[in-house]
């Protein structure tokens, strides 16, 4: 039997201190990935540092054209937030479509982004909106943050405290769920803003979330579903499993991207 010590620090500094002395410490957000993994004995951390008790970690606010969501905000709270719905409705919609009610009531945006599951929804929004990941030590641009499947720019013992989303003129998210798990088999977040369109794809790529350059150029000149006609993604680099071949996923990216553009508000 392995033992895990549970910590519930009141501040980020205390959390960082607890992680620093732990032999194999893990940050616990909503626990929707980590706890099932521990139950299956696929992870056995010596210390769990629960950041859910840190005040201010779940705040949601808007200022200077930027929506800031605390890392501890739960998916259900983001989905229901009038601040989020007013600022970036597509983000509230995305949060309301993650997992099931139990997952949404516990899972947090910080946990999801830090985990960078290749089939998670939030990474598509963070990358698609060109957001900034705020940690206890620095700010990291989304383009520099996601480094591949389950891999991010986070250093050892670095903790996400908030995500800052620039508010676009319009954005949309659509996903094609895996029939079994209902995770995104393909999820596409599109945003149209001052510096042109961004298109981020989750669920499909072998290296996790990625930007679809050809679609971004097409949408930057004309942000409409029709302008995606004729754009296609190469099947190379797409994931393949029993639910979808690489070719199928590449095809779905086009279909889902159009639906995301159509839904954009």
């Amino acid at each position: 039997m392995y033992q895990t010590k549970y910590h519930k620090p009141a501040s980020i500094d205390d959390a960082v201190a607890a992680l620093a002395v732990a032999e194999d410490g893990k940050v616990l957000g909503g626990g929707q990935t980590l706890l099932p993994t521990m139950k299956q004995h696929l992870a056995s951390p010596t210390d769990l540092v629960d950041v859910g008790g840190i005040s201010g970690m779940a705040d949601i606010s808007v200022s200077d054209g930027c929506l800031t969501i605390g890392a501890g905000a739960r998916h259900a709270d983001v989905a229901a937030s009038s601040v989020v719905r007013d600022a970036i409705p597509a983000l509230a919609c995305l949060a309301g479509g993650i997992g099931d009610p139990a997952v949404r009531s516990m899972g947090t945006i910080g946990g999801s982004v830090a985990n960078n599951d290749p089939a998670a929804d939030y990474p598509a929004a963070v990358l698609g909106l060109g957001a900034t990941v705020v940690t206890n030590t620095r700010e990291i641009a989304a383009d520099d943050f996601f480094e591949g499947m389950f891999t991010t720019a986070l250093e050892e013992d670095e903790i996400i405290t908030a995500i800052k989303f620039p508010i676009p003129s319009s954005a949309g998210y659509s996903k094609f769920p895996n029939p079994a798990s209902r995770y995104a088999m393909v999820g596409v977040f599109v945003a149209n803003g001052g510096s042109g369109a961004r298109v981020a794809v989750t669920g499909a790529g072998q290296d996790g979330v990625f930007r679809a350059d050809s679609m971004e150029s097409a949408l930057s000149s004309n942000f409409s579903a029709g302008s995606l006609d004729g754009t296609s993604l190469d099947a190379d680099g797409m994931m393949a499993d029993i639910h979808g071949t690489a070719e199928y996923r590449a095809h779905l990216v086009s279909v889902v991207a159009k639906r995301a553009v159509t839904s954009a508000v």
């Binding site: 039997m1 004995h41 079994a180 029993i242 639910h243 979808g244 071949t245 095809h251």
Partner: protein, 786 residues
């Protein structure tokens, strides 16, 4: 009586189930309880060289680790097969030896190798991870077609070529002649996908050894506790039958998978004796995927010939059945007598031949799963006839009508004799409800929205109420398949029914009480059903094969006949009337045509007080009966599925599903409709969602719900149901059984609809979005090529 046969009585058992008060095996916490976890074979084929349990045994809270060779030394027997099949050359079937725990070779991922007993479940599981195996991994055979290929890895040394049996039914020469002279011949290869049963409650066992009494008690998730006791006692040598009590309390679904007596239950009983502790084991979901008997897994090549008028002249099938690493209890009968005998479907076929080769592979054993053989037969027939209609340019419903059996009883070319039916009217009703006449307009409207609409039929017949004992005995069964009942009238007139059937979702506590209510005129609340405990109930065969209605309730009726006869004697004596004039109505026992009567409870009291009984009559009012059916019963139905396919994604939406069934007389329409809903949903699961997938090395890819797709509420439509009853003349209630029909009939209706929508018949189950999209791309490619 409002609670009687045909009434929509609410299920008596649902209060405890839907309020979380059901008591399942894992809910039992007994004295001196310890917990078990199993060490399992990590690869599909391995020679085990050594097991080092020292680290596990050193862990605090670990009580013992035991292995297969120790069980063997203690005389615990190997697992048995319940049905012997003879190959077409007259030779007996060949099966590998299945020991409860591995002695030398592990033959599938999940094969039990050692049991760890500990103070808590968490300790047991953690300790199991510390048991070190040294083994040589051997080449594995996984897919059914590959298992028979030259040079395939051998699963068992004593089963050459992995061939368990090569069985046949029907007249091959007659079929070959008919096909040679046929006007049109349809040929197809069909895969009947491998399924995991997934009952909501996983398997569980609590084994209690009482050293002072030399007695064992086993709480377990069983559909047939008496059979479990018999087998555990007579073949596995765990304990003599009278020293073993098997209790199957509330059981959360079985679908066949809880018929069998698995290694874990045997091992827990033995471990309880070895450790002197009560031993509890409860499967987790991944363990369930890895060890519960799977279903289906057939590959069939079929040929059907027609004359110029569209009449079937001959039907031939060639089936490979994957039985997995070991032959499970009733695995051998599923592809043979539950499949080959149904190859006539609901059609008058003059010549039929079926060949079935059953093979071993390094996968979980495959056994009967809801429908068991009949879904495989139905899928083959109904895909073939729909395809033939398309090839001949005929309406698929009309081709069916041309070939329907019209007169009953009907003797098929493959053993069975059907009892009753009216296939034409059933199909007419289904077409009316499904509004087939309006389909062309709906298809055009869908096309305008860029969607592809399709319509598919399935008209099926199946065999329920398993089964006449002598008949199944002559075909190789090791047991008889009668059922028992005891009716106990209490002194206050309330009634207890002891049944050898077992309810694990079927609603027996309600329907069986309705039969009593109907006969005696007392409310269902005055009737209780006792089942699932070998100490309480007389021997019975359990619940599977849609038998609890036609066989189990028939036994109750027989016992009620005896109770009524005695009650009438008591009433005639008390009321000073002739026994022939006594009638039982509305809870009263009356002298017909007079105002003389006794309330039902007065009869009970008179019987037990026994102050004034007819001369020579024994006191009390309790009667038992055993009922052995004369034949199977033959439910039949017409299903029509309408789908809309999104060509952009391959996603299929079932927009309407119509089922008109002939279940004979119906005891409780609510429960019957629930069975159809559940059965059709399982069939849609097979057709579109579910499939166990192994990789080439024999590792299961679909070991959790992340990859194994179960149907959810939003995957299925609201069903349109109706009934066209032709009562079975062969049992006293005229019922046919309804538990499996939905799962048997629905998969071909779904696939026929999808293939109609996409214009490509080359589609295997499950028709996932990927499969449908791929089939659509193939249509585009072939059109481009033309």
């Amino acid at each position: 009586m409002s609670d009687g046969i045909g009434a929509r009585v609410e299920r008596k058992e649902d209060k405890r189930f839907i309020t979380g008060k059901g008591k399942y095996t894992d809910d039992f916490r007994v004295d001196n309880q310890a917990y078990a976890a199993f060490v399992r074979c990590p690869v599909a084929n391995a020679k085990i060289n050594g097991i080092d349990a020292s680290a596990a045994l050193a862990m605090e809270g670990v009580i013992a680790v035991h292995t297969g060779p120790e069980m063997k030394e203690d005389g615990i027997g190997d697992l048995i097969t319940g049905w012997s099949i003879t190959s077409k050359d007259g030779s007996p079937m060949q099966c590998g030896v299945w020991s409860p725990m591995v002695t030398t070779y592990g033959r599938y991922v999940g094969d039990a190798i050692a049991i760890v007993v500990a103070e808590t479940q968490a300790i047991a599981r953690a300790a199991a991870e510390l048991v070190e195996l040294s083994y040589d991994e051997l080449p594995a055979t996984v897919q059914v077609e590959a298992a028979l290929a030259d040079g395939a890895a051998q699963v068992h040394e004593n089963v050459p070529g992995n061939m368990i049996y090569d069985w046949e039914i029907g007249d091959e020469a007659a079929v070959n002649d008919a096909l040679a002279g046929a006007h049109h011949v349809t040929e197809m290869r069909m895969v009947n996908n491998r399924l995991s049963p997934n009952p909501m409650e996983p398997r569980s066992a609590v084994a209690i050894f009482d050293e002072a009494e030399d007695h064992y008690t086993l709480y377990t998730t069983s559909q047939n506790p008496h059979v479990a006791r018999l087998v555990l006692s007579a073949f596995y040598n765990v304990a003599p039958e009278h020293k073993l009590r098997v209790i199957a309390p509330d059981v959360g679904g079985g679908f066949g998978s809880k018929i069998y007596i698995y290694p874990e239950e045997i091992t827990c009983l033995w471990a309880s004796m070895k450790t002197g502790r009560s031993v509890k084991w409860t499967s987790d979901r991944t363990e369930a995927f890895l060890t519960d008997a799977h279903g289906r897994d057939h590959v069939t090549k079929a040929t059907m010939g027609f004359d110029a008028n569209g009449r079937i002249v001959g039907f031939k099938t060639d089936t490979l059945a994957n039985l997995g690493a070991y032959v499970s209890l009733f695995a051998t009968v599923t592809p043979t007598y539950l499949h080959g005998t149904l190859l006539s479907g609901c059609y008058d076929m003059p010549a039929i031949y079926g060949n079935v080769k059953a093979v071993h592979t390094n996968t979980v054993p495959v056994d009967a799963y809801r429908g068991a053989g009949r879904p495989e037969a139905t899928y083959t027939i109904e895909r073939m006839i729909e395809t033939a209609a398309r090839e001949m340019g005929m309406d698929p419903a009309e081709l069916r009508r041309k070939n329907f059996i019209n007169e009953f009883p009907y003797q098929t070319q493959v053993i069975l004799q059907y009892d009753s039916g009216d296939y034409h009217k059933t199909l007419d009703m289904a077409e009316e409800i499904a509004d087939v006449a309006g389909f062309a307009a709906r298809r055009a409207e869908a096309a305008a929205r860029g969607k592809l609409r399709g319509l598919g039929y399935s008209t099926f017949v199946e065999a329920c109420g398993i089964a006449p004992s002598a008949a199944v005995g002559s075909l190789g069964a090791a047991v008889g398949l009668w059922e028992s009942a005891e009716v106990r009238v209490n002194p206050v007139g309330s009634v207890e029914i002891l049944t050898g059937c077992h309810s694990h979702g079927q609603g027996h506590e309600t329907t069986f009480a309705q039969v009593v209510s109907d006969r005696l005129g007392i409310p269902v609340d005055n009737v209780s059903i006792v089942h699932g405990d070998t100490d309480k109930v007389q021997f019975g065969m359990g619940t599977y094969g849609s038998r609890s209605g036609p066989v189990g309730m028939s036994a109750i009726v027989k016992a009620l006949d005896k109770v009524e006869a005695k009650a009438k004697k008591i009433a005639a004596h008390t009321l000073e009337a002739s026994e022939d004039d006594i009638v039982i109505e509305n809870g009263e026992v009356k002298v017909a045509g007079t105002d003389k009567s006794m309330a039902w409870h007065e009869i009970g009291l008179a019987a037990y007080i026994a102050h004034n009984l007819p001369e020579g009559m024994e006191p009390g009012l309790k009667e038992a009966a055993f009922y052995d059916p004369l034949n199977f019963s033959f439910p039949a139905g017409a299903l029509i599925c309408e789908v809309e396919v999104d060509p952009d994604t391959g996603v299929t939406d079932i927009v309407k599903f119509t089922a008109v069934d002939d279940f004979g007389n119906i005891i409780n329409p609510n429960i019957v409709e629930g069975q159809v809903h559940g059965g059709v949903t399982q069939g849609i699961g097979q057709a579109m969602l579910e499939q166990v997938v192994y990789d080439d090395s024999g590792q299961m890819i679909t070991g959790s719900y992340m990859d194994y797709c179960m149907p959810r509420a939003d995957d299925v439509p609201s069903y349109a149901l109706d009934h066209n009853a032709t009562p079975s003349p062969l049992n006293p209630l005229g019922i046919k059984g309804c538990g499996e029909a939905g799962a048997i009939g629905s998969p071909p209706a779904v696939i026929n609809a999808i293939t109609d929508a996409i214009g490509n018949n080359d589609l295997q189950m499950p028709a996932t979005p990927l499969a449908v999209w791929t089939a659509l791309q193939n249509v585009k490619t072939s059109m481009a090529a033309e």
